[in-house]
Symmetry: C2
Subunit: 297 residues, 2 copies
């Protein structure tokens, strides 16, 4: 029996599909922009059908942008639910893939999938409790707590925490249609672009945008540390590809914690506490393959 898996990182900006078994065995992959559900999911189906003609897939994992319904007992399991992304609310992503390809599907959030990939092959190996954050079109977080993926009521929506916002320093009201100036509303890529009139990748490394961005993200990380006590924070996404940002986070987070949490991992070894994904840009799609191949929950 084959043990080839499919993986889909279903992002709000692009879909990343691959087949394989792990980071050293990804014989095929493809990426394309996220347009309409019909077109985008159709392209994913076409890719996997082509792969299946060569070799059947044992299962397909999907790590999706959200909010999603990751509860296998729910009638809307596998759906993207209340997303503000036009056309994508209440789309049965897992069901469409499953019906077209006839393979078992494992489904979770994009960030939980990435966390699982990092747990198996990347920067989360050997840890019991860590979080994976992405900072890009949105801000999301998932993770492994007590050795299992975080679900609970639905799934974490870490980007939507409220943080202090000094309106005198930063009069930008925030981009979140639900909350205005939540973390995502202040620090996602669209927020940076709306505030400064430039996309993040065109802002110079010494632009004041980055000190403000690091301040907001550090407030978020500080809150996640106080709430969850993770053994490590893995942080990826398009905005984190600005390499000046990570050192600023590593400076700001211990300052904000103020010496209260006496953990040598934070006080003496912050460079190994706040880290980029070990699997780089493939964390999400490899995580989807891990979802397909492993115990999902």
């Amino acid at each position: 029996m084959s043990t080839l898996y499919g993986g889909i990182e279903a992002g709000g900006t692009k879909f990343f599909c691959a087949v394989g078994t792990g980071p050293n065995d990804l014989p095929a992959e493809t990426q394309f922009g996220t347009t309409t559900p019909e077109e985008t999911i159709g392209r994913a189906i076409t890719f996997f059908k082509g792969q299946q003609e060569r070799e059947p897939l044992t299962a397909i994992g999907i790590g999706s942008f959200g909010p999603v319904d990751p509860d296998p007992t729910s009638p809307t399991y596998g759906y993207i639910t209340t997303t503000p992304k036009p056309g994508w609310a209440w789309i049965d992503l897992a069901g469409m893939i499953q019906r077209a390809l006839g393979t078992p599907i494992a489904f979770d959030t994009d960030v939980n999938a990435a966390a699982l990939g990092e747990y198996r092959w990347g920067a989360g190996q050997g840890l019991d409790s860590f979080i994976y954050l992405t900072v890009g079109t949105g801000i999301g977080g998932g993770g492994i707590i007590n050795g299992r993926l975080m679900h609970g009521l639905i799934h974490p929506e870490m980007g939507h925490i409220r943080i202090p916002h000094d309106w005198d320093v930063d009069p930008y009201p925030g981009s979140c249609p639900y909350h205005g100036d939540c973390l995502e509303g202040l620090a996602s890529a669209p927020a940076i672009e709306a505030r400064w009139g430039q996309t993040p990748d065109t802002l110079p490394a010494d632009h004041p945008a980055w000190a403000l961005e690091a301040h907001y993200l550090a407030l978020g990380l500080t809150n996640f540390i106080c709430t969850l006590s993770p053994q490590r924070i893995i942080i990826g996404g398009g905005v984190m590809e600005q390499s000046q940002l990570l050192p600023l986070l590593r400076q700001n987070v211990p300052k904000l914690l103020g010496g209260y949490i006496q953990a040598p991992q934070i006080l003496e070894d912050i460079d190994n506490y706040i880290v980029l994904p070990g699997l780089g840009r493939r964390a999400g799609v490899l995580g989807a393959i891990a979802l397909a191949s492993g115990p999902v929950r």
Copy 2:
């Protein structure tokens, strides 16, 4: 062999000690103020020695104010660590009890102990992931995530998250010696007293203090919901004994979430989502007995 357990809720204001096996079997209990470590721990030891003369204790559980070191592999396991409470920093609480009484000790934070008590006998029964918060002299949180108590790097310090603070509405700078206006700094009992010049129990139910308190606590709860996705929030502590506060929280939290998290538990059944401890004021001490009697971690 006896199965009588001891439990200590070691609070920053008072110690609550009991022996028994559960909520319907607590043959002896005592409470006394937290003064010096020598005197306070001495009184606990005297109480349990008296009990042991009647019937030996199988184990003693301790749920302590913190921060603490709950890692059994650490050289400072069982210590209260960096507390600002005078005289109590780096006190070997578990060790002093263990050496004096010769019984096995189970040790965790006060809020994790209370969460375990609620999980076994109270408002957390049957849940996989929930949090337990206390609002009193300090604000603390713990919980069960994926069926086990939260630990991670050390333990959560939920009271120390940063939340929005509108200085025009509330010029009080916050009471936290580490962070100023973190959640605990703005919403703990000492913060209420410092802001309004009265202890919380003397403020009338229609005093504006309570709307502000509910606003800050609701910001905290909203952040915990977004970060952890708990199936329920159990909230206790002295400040929550002001009965006007819970209905305000149940109003404010869904408003702050803004309809983003489409969970019927929040949208349609908030009265069963944010609840007081099922074990009331005995949640902590019963949790300590649960720690002593059960798988600790």
